[in-house]
Subunit: 457 residues, 2 copies
Amino acid sequence: MDEKNFDEISQEIIALLDAKKYMYARDKILGLQEVDMAEALEEVIERLGIEYAVILFRMLPKDVSAEVFSYLPTDDQLAVINVITDKEIKYIIDELDFDDMIDVLEELPANIVDKILEKSTKEERKQINTFLNYPDDSAGSLMTPDYISLQKDWTVGDALAHIKRVGMDSETVYTCYVKDRGRKLIGIVSLRTLVVSDADRPLADIINEDVICTNVYADQENVSEMFKKYGYLAIPVVDNEMRLVGIITVDDIFGVIEEEYNEDFERMAGVLDSSDAEYLDIGVFKHVRNRLPWLALLMVSAMLTGGIIRSFETLLSSVISLAVYLPMLMGTGGNSGSQSATLIIRGMAVGDIEMRDALRVFWKELRVSFTVGLMLSALNMVKILFLDREDIWVAATVCISMVVIVTMAKCIGGMLPMLAKRVGIDPALMAAPMISSLTDLVSCLTYFTLASVVLRL
Amino acid sequence: MDEKNFDEISQEIIALLDAKKYMYARDKILGLQEVDMAEALEEVIERLGIEYAVILFRMLPKDVSAEVFSYLPTDDQLAVINVITDKEIKYIIDELDFDDMIDVLEELPANIVDKILEKSTKEERKQINTFLNYPDDSAGSLMTPDYISLQKDWTVGDALAHIKRVGMDSETVYTCYVKDRGRKLIGIVSLRTLVVSDADRPLADIINEDVICTNVYADQENVSEMFKKYGYLAIPVVDNEMRLVGIITVDDIFGVIEEEYNEDFERMAGVLDSSDAEYLDIGVFKHVRNRLPWLALLMVSAMLTGGIIRSFETLLSSVISLAVYLPMLMGTGGNSGSQSATLIIRGMAVGDIEMRDALRVFWKELRVSFTVGLMLSALNMVKILFLDREDIWVAATVCISMVVIVTMAKCIGGMLPMLAKRVGIDPALMAAPMISSLTDLVSCLTYFTLASVVLRL
């Protein structure tokens, strides 16, 4: 089913609900995958209001409704919870996968969480509280305790019988975990290996003891790097004593990757991390707070550029047309530097460029920038002489400045992210805003210094 | 094993090879996972040269060496192929997973590919050629034909016996595909369902016929969106007649996601798509070609800004200190606009912001920018009056301009990506370089117009 198809179906559902043909709307939505049902419900909430959405939501089969709920965005989950009964809330929470349940509980107001936990056993409450306490960006916050655990002294047949008994409640059955008496992880065995092995073979023969695992407090970025590198479907999570506490499955990693990339995009635009809240959900003052610090800092740098101009005021007032070419030189310098910075920042992020490549990067940027600078200069020479009909010496000043500025800008853009990494600053901060502020300074200084030499003033 | 640990081991391997203690080096590298072995080999190639790497490579067990080979970057694969014998090449190619083999063949020179294909059967050659011909960014280029295919009239027991027979050669056994006589895909069944079902149950009872699949010519970006959305481990690929031609597994999607993000990063920095080549592997002239077009285009826009300054030359020459504040106003305008543009571009990319949110975005940017503008103005007022000791009217001009410029810049930055999407241009092109060039124009015009009004010249 493609996007267009889905849009049509969700329009039909809205029309049916609006016409109070609830049963037809229900039949329509049940033809979708759960994640698409959630998207359709979102549309209903937005277009018709939460009441209509809850009518439809209540008509879904119970187990489907819990899964659909887990795919709703947080604000819509809260809206639904505010309308349905406590009993219904409890039912949804019970039906959710453990890790989805934790995600939901984290977002709910404390009084509702308490009400839900009241009905759980003491053991459950303890486990839930442990999971709720893992830091936001840790492996612990991503994991689920619903995995298949096997005994070392079993046979393949025992293992398969065990999976048959408990398999449907686990998040994944495709990697099974073998623990010793002290809950220490001693190896893994894949369902593929179990299925192709003879039933009476001892598990000990086929266990893979060379296990890649992660610590419960590891940064989620490291976890997603492991998934990318090894291509596994699940990675076990252990505590500091190497005891298995949960697993992370590959489907939960896509969200992490998206979050990490967005963080980079925002840093590269001089916006403070907006955590993972949606743009429209963030209030005006939070937006102001996220953007003001960098703008103010860069403004100070731009004031220095102004200071340079002030020191050349006499020169400028005698050749006022110098000011005409200043925006072009500063703009081109900034853009040149930003291009290089982005390529280097990304190259380092994906591991194509290492610190030891610094000299090679410098040499490449030097040649690229000199070529680019010469070509842009040639364009300018023609324009200034024949279109603007300026003095040859002004043209010469602008063109020589262009080559020098582009070359310096690209070398600064290429080197600064590497320097930042060296001293432990996130290279992503050395992107467009920072680089163009710095190159503005350099551009102004270069231009006016060259002008005072060339124009012999 | 963490990064630090790996670095140590690869240093040890290099030291051992350098001391010609090959067997020790071999034992050391065999303690690693295959993907880490490949990384260690890369280091060896870089530090000691290809000859040492090939000595080590040849000492690996045959099946391991093929997998390690598949993880090497393309240029290192070519380096290895140039040194080893044709027989060894043929062996590696045969051992590779089908999709990895296609990836390798695509990069090899035609004469080597011909030599390899010579020894294949006619049937194999035909299939390889079909796969080699799928467009670079299509689902077809990502898929593998190594999947488990089942017959509808089998029982669960038959299916499991079949998997036991052929399972080890498939890329994944966790989703099995059921086809009719005409090779049309009619449903899927997961290994989990097979394992928890009774052996004599007919497959027809447990097949899921509601299959999400993709066309062989679908864009890889759409395929990665499907994986993100549905969280599946594999997605079947069909041709235009709905015949199953292959499957794409989740581990091949991480590379696609990275490629797509990097494309966005590059577009947002005004760099043309560098395909998926590494920065250092791209030649100087290719780099120039990738960067020059946007720089030249934006330079023309900056020339227009210069034109505005020229038209205010008289004003500028009578109040020369106006020039001092120009870089700060243009810089802050550009940075403000870029912040907004990035947030909107990313918000649209991840689906948080839809076209119908345009008014809400505008309203939010208006309030945020007005607040930010006022605060930056206040800072400037103090600085200009007390530090620069400028005329109150110059200070007023700069401060009013600041509020107007930041507000306009943020609204342009917020709206332009949405407008681009509306008319079918990639919103990512409306990022820092483009936005700051446009805001430079607007900033200059605003500043000088306000100056001529306020200073009554």
